[in-house]
């Protein structure tokens, strides 16, 4: 299997959470075990654009429990004798080998996955991917010249991984509290995107666009917009180091001392 594999460097590793569950797109060659006409293959592929029940295969890195995965689209591209080429957009964690097997069962002739290439992982597509050779060559160039623009040719800021994740922007004064693991409170928010619901993973960004943390929303976009107080998201993964922004909050202990 070849294709898009986002590799996170150093502390950026914490953003993989946003990528693991993101949607994927593949180009696949499926080998049929019997002669079938194209029209039938096209029709059966369309039927799989739905919610799929899958049990992970014997050789898998997850628990073998029946689970559901959504197929967003399954486009027939080409067919040559028993080889079928298709493009599939699906939820993260869909087993394409299993999908091919199931398509074969539906066709009645049986089939298996011949070749697979991932063309998208979340916001990352094969169009802007680089090879290991590129990485080794450019890194060597950078070490010689110390020209940062060479690094920028193949290293992207970790924020690009969050392009499809709904975002919340917060004031400078709210940043350090979130860096310390505090929940995000409504007054700290300046703007946000639509599509946030309770339980959804959100990216909390500074006004400069730096990611502060990944959080779990406790309210919807519309609710957050009208809220004046209260928790809006719980910090799940903090990405920004503490102390990047000034501390604008008092710890409970200190406040108690002042009260005395």
């Amino acid at each position: 299997m070849t294709g898009v594999l986002p590799v996170t460097l150093g502390d950026a590793t914490k953003v993989v959470q946003a990528l693991l569950h993101s949607g994927k797109e593949y180009i696949c060659v499926m080998k049929l075990h019997g002669d079938t006409d194209e029209e039938k293959v096209r029709n059966v592929l369309k039927e799989f654009e739905d919610i799929l029940y899958q049990r992970p295969p014997l050789r898998a890195s997850v628990k073998r429990q029946l689970r559901t995965r959504r197929i967003y689209y399954l486009d027939f591209l080409e067919m040559q004798r028993r080889n079928v080429l298709f493009r599939v957009g699906c939820e993260g964690g869909t087993y394409i080998r299993k999908l091919c097997f199931d398509i074969g069962e539906a066709l009645g002739c049986a089939a298996h996955m011949q070749e697979l290439r991932r063309t998208r992982a979340g916001p990352f597509t094969e169009n802007d991917s680089v090879t290991l050779h590129d990485v080794a060559y450019w890194f060597g160039q950078w070490q010689e010249t110390k020209d940062e623009s060479i690094l920028k040719k193949f290293i992207q800021p970790m924020e690009t991984a969050l392009a499809l994740t709904p975002k919340i922007w917060i004031r400078d004064s709210a940043v350090d509290a979130v860096c310390h693991g505090a929940s995000l409170m409504a007054p700290g928010i300046t703007s946000l995107e639509t599509g946030i619901y309770k339980g959804v993973l959100v990216a909390v960004l500074s006004l400069k666009g730096e990611v502060v943390a990944l959080g779990n929303a406790t309210a919807s976009s519309e609710e957050i917009l009208t809220l004046n107080h209260g928790i809006v998201a719980k910090a799940e993964r903090v990405l920004m180091p503490r102390g990047t922004y000034p501390k604008c909050w008092e710890s409970g202990e200190k406040t108690n001392e002042q009260a005395r």
């Binding site: 294709g3 460097l9 502390d11 800021p157 599509g195 500074s206």
Partner: protein, 78 residues
């Protein structure tokens, strides 16, 4: 079953709740990071070659870039 919308086809709108300015003294825009910060808070959209596993490819990237840790977004297995 109608074709469902994939995450990359979702259009999001921006909702403004309040106005505020950011102090240029603290932090900086993601594209203004130094080389060291880029290597610490960056990622590579790698085109995985056939053969080695995702873990091996991630480990090679780590060695090439002389880093202490890397991670990868989703094992590329069928």
């Amino acid at each position: 079953m109608p074709r469902s919308i994939s995450p990359w086809e979702v259009q999001r709108k921006l909702l403004i709740k309040a106005e505020d300015k950011t102090n240029p003294k603290y932090g900086h825009r993601p594209n203004e990071r130094s080389a060291e910060e880029l290597l610490r808070y960056g990622l590579v959209n790698l085109d995985k070659p056939a053969g080695p596993t995702s873990h091996e490819v991630a480990a090679w990237t780590k060695r090439i870039l002389k880093l202490e840790s890397v991670g990868h977004g989703g094992t590329l297995e069928a």
